[in-house]
């Protein structure tokens, strides 16, 4: 326990780095996959290849991707950018399927109603399609976020990994406490992020709250 007190600055710093390394890719992933998913629903021949490509990219081991990226895009091996880009790739490859499914779940008569009252494409997509797709997109987003939070720590092997650095520290010093602290904080972070996303989804979809009791 004294170790935790003595190292609270270090722990806090790794926690912040961990959060940054996990959440930035999630946001970037969302910003990339929503327009991409929209294009794929517009030009439907694109959807299957995109989802298949996502499946292949998602199957790449994270440590492999962290190392291959510098060779492909010229970043430094020990750059945090590798982690952020790699996790963004995972986020997009998982989210793209949910975005496409979500946008396709918008009922045709709703789309027609929007067009007939004079909504332009951009306004319709932002104010109608996307809100209706929120539950499906958020299902993917929750998986991405939790998986990212757990994957960030692998980066510690190459020297950038937030809480993962507590694992390497504990392992090198043959000392259990930092590892336990890292595991517990990582799990807590994942849980909190998940709860936050569920809350955000509730705020974004007020109609779901209104309808649920009636259906039950």
């Amino acid at each position: 326990m004294t170790w935790i007190g003595d190292n609270s600055v270090l722990i806090w710093e790794q926690l912040r780095e961990h959060l940054f390394l996990a959440l930035l890719p999630m946001v970037l992933g969302l910003l990339i996959s929503v327009p991409l998913g929209y294009v794929a629903t517009r030009f439907s021949w694109l959807a299957n290849p995109l989802v298949a490509l996502g499946g292949v990219l998602y199957s790449l081991p994270s440590i492999a991707l962290f190392i291959v990226l510098p060779a492909l895009i010229g970043t430094k091996v020990l750059s945090a950018a590798n982690i952020v880009i790699a996790l963004t790739i995972y986020a997009v490859s998982l989210l793209i399927r949910n975005v496409i499914d979500g946008l396709r779940s918008v009922p045709e008569d709703v789309l027609q109603a929007a067009v007939s009252v004079g909504y332009g494409t951009l306004r319709r997509v932002i104010t109608i399609d996307l809100p209706i797709a929120v539950p499906v997109i958020f299902a993917g987003l929750r998986v991405v976020t939790v998986a990212n939070i757990s994957m960030v720590s692998v980066g510690a092997i190459i020297g950038i990994g937030g809480l993962g650095e507590l694992f390497t520290l504990g392992f090198q010093q043959d000392f259990l406490t930092p590892i336990l602290v890292g595991v517990v904080l990582s799990l807590a972070l994942a849980l909190l992020a998940d709860v936050a996303l569920v809350g955000l989804q509730r705020i974004l979809t007020p109609w779901a709250r209104v309808n649920t009791p009636k259906e039950a």
Binding site: I63, V68, I157, L187
Partner: protein
């Protein structure tokens, strides 16, 4: 950097012997399949039981979610510190990672079988065991295989990380290369693991294609389209 990688991988000296690429791939596959087999032996029966009885869903769903949040490296270093360096702790860590996806999707597959299908089977006189083996498992097979598939990917990736705790396998190139600042060597390990992961994924895609009953995959035409079967009957029928 890519040139260095090509030099490394095309040098036949790097392929031979106990430290060679060939042997590293075999080691990697060995850890993967041993862990996968043990994880499947544990997770499949539990998943089938929970799905068949439809009891304990809470357990299946929540272990699946919690495991996704479990940091691989943390789990690995934790088990190694508790048990000591060696093959056993690494296999344990890999098994622990493999169990939740297999259990969760087996449960989801079996419990997702249409109630009326099971009632029909029971009505035809099938016993509980027959319903499980002849109805529920075949229908759940696509999901069961996809659970095995995600477990395999998880284990293949993590077996790389296992070199960090002094195990063999392809992760050696990553870890050794890192300590020597030998980037081509690291890249070789990374690329080989990625290729291995994609190949294993393709194997599972092939298994899913040929093991799943043709009536479920949509490869044969069915008389009734299940997608429209819930729609209201057209007027006048």
């Amino acid at each position: 950097m890519l040139q260095g990688f090509l030099d490394f991988i095309s040098d036949s000296a790097n392929w031979a012997g106990a430290e060679g690429i060939g042997n590293r791939i075999l080691q990697h596959l060995g850890y993967t399949f041993l862990s996968l087999a043990i994880a499947a032996l544990i997770a499949l029966p539990i998943g089938l039981l929970i799905g068949h009885t439809r009891r304990g869903a809470f357990l299946a769903i929540n272990t699946g979610n919690a495991a996704r949040a479990l940091p691989t490296l943390g789990l690995l270093t934790l088990i190694v510190l508790l048990i000591g360096i060696g093959r056993v702790p690494v296999i344990i860590a890999l098994v622990v990672l493999g169990i939740p996806p297999i259990m969760a999707s087996t449960y989801a597959g079996v419990s997702g079988v249409d109630r009326s299908t099971i009632d029909a089977a029971r009505g035809m006189g099938m016993t509980g065991r027959e319903i499980l083996t002849k109805v529920e498992i075949p229908i759940a097979l696509p999901l069961i295989i996809s659970g095995l598939r995600s477990a395999t990917l998880q284990i293949v990736s993590t077996a790389t990380v296992a070199a960090y705790v002094a195990l063999g396998g392809l992760g050696r190139y990553v870890i050794d290369g890192l300590s020597l600042r030998d980037f081509p060597q690291m890249l070789t390990g990374a690329v080989l693991v990625a290729v291995l992961a994609i190949l294993l994924d393709l194997v599972f895609a092939a298994i899913a294609r040929y093991a799943v009953s043709a009536g479920l995959t949509g490869r044969v035409r069915r008389n009734t389209d299940t997608k429209t079967s819930t729609a209201p009957a057209p007027a006048g029928v």
